[in-house]
Symmetry: C2
Subunit: 152 residues, 2 copies
DNA sequence: TTTACTGCAAACGATTTGCAGTCCC
DNA sequence: GGGACTGCAAATCGTTTGCAGTAAA
């Protein structure tokens, strides 16, 4: 299999991450690039399985293990966020890799991004008052989404 | 095995939860009461395994499955909080079962309770602006605790 | 006596890992 | 050509479950 990433146009973000991968000495295998593209263009906070399904449409041989390996790599690079739920699969956010609050519907399991102003300030204050060196956070708000409320 | 919960003094909270269990038609087995007591007197956010170890000191036959079953029951009753971490075991908070932010040290895995004023107000605002019916939240702040910082 | 609960062991399911072969660079 | 990466299958591990026996009420 052979793919030349330069032959296809891509978003600045995609190109930047490909660049980062190259700088790391990582190979740009077709599977890897396809997984990355799938992550950057899916705002639904997909599971590894869902990414696998989507990538298999393009490269049928792709294994789930490779998806997991690649997601780990991208996570370590800071290119995506993993939302680890206790039960069921992790969900991934490749659209906004910076910590931000999520609204999680406990009925349909939809995850929505949301914005809470000054959250950075809040964690800064915690850092100062407790002596904790804050490196990140996760703020999940659970409830029932508007759609599920109307369904009943 | 036979234990009479009334023969021992207990905190008001312990007695209230025992009462709640009885009201539900649940049996007050020695294992169950011991697990509950262990949870109410351990502020270290223990794992199921750690609770199992502690309870086995008192009732050596106690199985880990019973610990899990009992923790599930207590969680469903709202008597404790489960902190589900993606990797490793869940941690449980039986001291403060109401949602509150946690400071999690990514080096020594200590979990500290903390207080952020007006967090309830924040989730209320999110509820109003998004139409989400908020039922709970989880706010984990990751970093390096003061002790681990001094160790280097 | 009734039946909820227990211990045990096997099952489960998401993720990781070992390995032999592949193919990007 | 070398070694990072792949697919596959087996291993891992926290947690759940089935079941026959036990004991709380």
């Amino acid at each position: 299999m052979h793919v030349n990433p330069h032959s296809q146009s891509g978003s600045p973000r995609l190109l930047a991450i490909l660049q980062q991968l190259r700088a790391r000495g990582c190979r740009l295998t077709p599977q890897r690039v396809a997984i990355l593209q799938a992550m950057l263009t899916n705002a639904e906070h997909p599971t590894a399985e869902q990414i696998h399904t989507r990538v298999k449409a393009q490269f049928p041989m792709t294994s789930l293990a490779t998806v997991y390996n690649t997601l780990d790599l991208l996570k370590e690079m800071g290119a995506l966020l993993e939302i680890e739920l206790g039960h069921g699969s992790s969900r991934f956010d490749g659209v906004n890799p910076h910590p931000h609050p999520h609204l999680i519907c406990t009925r349909c399991h939809t995850i929505l991004d949301t914005d809470i102003p000054h959250l950075q300030t809040v964690t800064d204050v915690v850092s100062q008052t407790t002596g904790f060196m804050v490196t990140g956070y996760r703020f999940d708000i659970f409830g029932i989404c508007p759609t599920c409320q109307t369904i009943g």
